[in-house]
């Protein structure tokens, strides 16, 4: 178990002076709590696997240090870091039985036979693999193989953190849920630090206490799923998380307030004032609001803006309506009971859910 810290950590796959080369991972400072469940979320190529491999020691970072419980492990090889890793594709030793697979890390560390047997059986029980212990591992299904990969990490009593690199990619959809629950359960039982890499937001949000969103090697936000949803720190986070993503409407600001395509938007006066200052300093201004928070009326009402509803998708327990506000497109996620039809309509943006972004970053 360990608290993991990154100090000025950065990685580049290219040689060159610090700061002057293309970074796979931009310089960052982070500290992750012992026993937390963290997810690294981002599109392909955002640097999340690079970061994972730096933690496990498969990659040596080109700048900065990695600390486990305050001890610098940057130069330690993988085998001495007490890290377990589960990969995208199940890695099992084909010629061994399930028992031997689970025992392999212990045998390599010369664990005594009775202790080894006890640990393997305990882990097999936890992962519901007890019945398969005598079977050859190569004959099992993909989800059982992934459990073996995980088990090889869990058998070691000294494991500080378990890293998951998109571990559910090859698992059947109906088994993903069970396996994910298993992971949560093990996390609660063992209180290990878990780090989970994925590009699937629903996996990240259901699995982790804390989600770190990465894009092009930059950490955009670290926060709980609720924080990411309610307070996206960056337009990318707003757009990437949520289905559909946050409405991002380019806007202007003048003496009378914020305007989207000529329509005045009501905001807290102090917030609008800060936006005005930011705008004066230069930078593109965008207004963001989640489709869940947009309010809709069929008929005119004070404080609502006239729009043209162009499409309504009924998805069973909710509806997604697309509306035009001048030249801008606004998506709304409405309850199944809301009556909504194509044609003229009215909507408002509640000020507590409306955020302004300057050059992508939220105006706090």
């Amino acid at each position: 178990m360990a608290r993991i810290e990154f100090r000025n950590l950065a990685h580049s796959y290219h040689a060159g002076a610090p700061g002057a080369r293309p970074y796979a991972l931009q310089p960052m400072n982070q500290a992750w709590d012992d026993g937390g469940a963290y997810a690294l979320l981002g599109p392909s190529g955002c640097g999340k696997t690079t970061l994972l491999n730096i933690i496990s020691g498969l990659i040596h970072p080109s700048e900065g240090r990695v600390l486990f419980d305050g001890v610098d492990v940057t130069d330690l090889p993988t085998a001495r870091r007490n890290i377990a890793q589960v990969f995208q594709f199940p890695v099992i030793y084909d010629t061994m039985t399930v028992f031997d697979n689970l025992a392999f890390p212990l045998r390599n560390r010369r664990t005594a036979a009775p202790e080894l047997k006890r640990r393997v059986e305990q882990v097999a029980h936890m992962l519901e693999l007890s019945a398969d212990l005598g079977k050859r591992a190569s004959g099992l299904s993909a989800d059982a193989k992934q459990k073996i990969s995980l088990g090889r990490g869990l058998v070691r009593s000294d494991v500080a953190a378990i890293l998951f690199d998109e571990p559910l990619t090859v698992i059947d959809p109906h088994l993903k849920w069970t396996l994910r629950r298993k992971l949560k359960q093990i996390h609660q039982e063992l209180k290990l630090t878990l780090i989970y890499v994925t590009h699937d937001q629903s996996e990240a949000l259901t699995f982790a206490d804390q989600v770190m969103v990465l894009c092009e090697g930059r950490v955009l936000q670290l926060g709980s799923p609720t924080e990411l949803f309610e307070h996206p720190a960056h337009t990318f986070v707003g757009h990437f998380i949520g289905s559909p993503g946050m409405n991002l409407l380019p806007c202007t600001i003048d003496a009378s307030g914020v305007r989207v395509d000529g329509h005045a938007i009501e905001l807290e006066p102090a917030y609008a004032e800060r936006a005005r200052d930011a705008r004066r300093a230069g930078g593109a201004l965008v207004m963001g609001i989640r489709p869940e928070f947009v309010r809709y009326r069929r008929h005119a009402e004070a404080g609502f803006l006239p729009v043209e509803v162009t499409a309504v998708e009924d998805l069973g327990n909710y509806k997604i309506a697309t509306a035009r506000l001048g030249a801008q497109v606004v998506k709304m996620k409405l309850g199944e009971a809301t009556s909504v039809a194509s044609g003229p309509g009215w909507l408002s943006f509640p000020r507590e859910w409306t955020r302004l972004y300057v050059d992508g970053a939220v105006l706090g």
Binding site: Q88, V91, Y93, T95, F104, P105, N108, R136, G139
Partner: protein, 292 residues
């Protein structure tokens, strides 16, 4: 779905039928034809049934050639497989000019025709002007005269065979190694596996498929070896390097005993087929079979 019947479809199969006929069926049937008749000349022949087969099965010279053949093929596999795998393990892992250069260098012996290899080695082995022959004879002080010393002729043929074909095993093994995803090495690293454990539990099992192919190819090819002993000593000294195919050619062309040679050919073919089948079955089972 209704299937359309159109006999013109047979035309599509025709090229394959013709190819297989000229390539395999017709030559094989010619041999079968010889093996059941006593042929004097184009017009005089008598049907003898299984006589030639019975005769062949009791032929002492053939028995010796067969034993020699098994020892030879066995030794070839024992040397070439570990050597080829060892070479593959030492080859550069990532792409780049070093990998390309190594691959080309390793593949070179495979590009040389058999009889040229024989000629190269004859010169190489000559005690007076050959580099290796001279080295053994003068520098090491071992009397080297492969045309008259059976064991030396044997070792020479083995050397040629190993030099010529280890590359094939190495290339196959290299392909098998390169196909192992990095995650396996990373997982082994995390599990604290020793280099030997990585070889034993990851590399070797993952190379099973290509090594099966290597064993099959090398067994069959070495079982049919002809050119090397023919060029070197013509099967001598005495009968010491008279392997099956050398003996077969002596029978068929040297002694014009086409009946015996025909029966011998068929038995020879059956042996190769039987061994290939057994090898294949065994190796399939080794990997995928039941626990322990």
């Amino acid at each position: 779905m209704n299937k359309t019947h159109d006999n013109r479809a047979w035309l599509l199969v025709l090229p394959v039928v013709l190819l297989v006929a000229f390539n395999a069926v017709i030559p094989l049937m010619t041999v079968v034809n010889y093996s059941v008749q006593d042929v004097f000349d184009a017009t005089h022949r008598t049907f003898v049934g299984a006589d030639w087969y019975r005769d062949t099965l009791h032929n002492q010279r053939l028995h010796h050639a067969l034993e020699r053949q098994f020892v030879f093929s066995g030794l070839v596999l024992l040397i070439e497989l570990p050597l080829g795998v060892a070479i593959a393990l030492m080859m550069p892992k990532r792409g780049g000019w070093a990998t390309s250069l190594t691959l080309v260098l390793i593949a070179l012996p495979l590009l040389i025709p058999w009889n040229v290899i024989g000629t190269i080695w004859i010169v190489f082995l000559r005690p007076d002007i050959g580099l290796l022959g001279h080295f053994i004879d003068h520098t090491l002080g071992i009397h080297f005269d492969y045309p008259t010393v059976p064991i030396q002729a044997w070792v020479s043929v083995m050397l040629m065979e190993v030099w010529h074909w280890t590359s094939l095993v190495a290339l196959l093994a290299y392909a098998g190694l390169r196909a192992i995803p990095d995650a396996y090495y990373q997982a082994a690293h995390i599990d604290g596996a020793s280099p030997w454990a990585v070889f034993r539990y990851i590399q070797l099992p993952k190379m099973r498929g290509v090594l099966t192919i290597a064993i099959l190819l090398r067994f069959m090819d070495s079982f049919l070896i002809y050119t090397e002993p023919f060029v070197l000593t013509g099967g001598g000294p005495g009968d010491s390097t008279t392997f099956l195919s050398i003996y077969l050619v002596k029978l068929a062309i040297g002694e014009f005993d086409v009946g015996r040679a025909g029966a011998f050919s068929i038995i020879y073919l059956l042996i190769v087929l039987a061994f290939s089948y057994v090898f294949y079955q065994v190796l399939q089972r080794v990997g995928t079979g039941e626990a322990k």
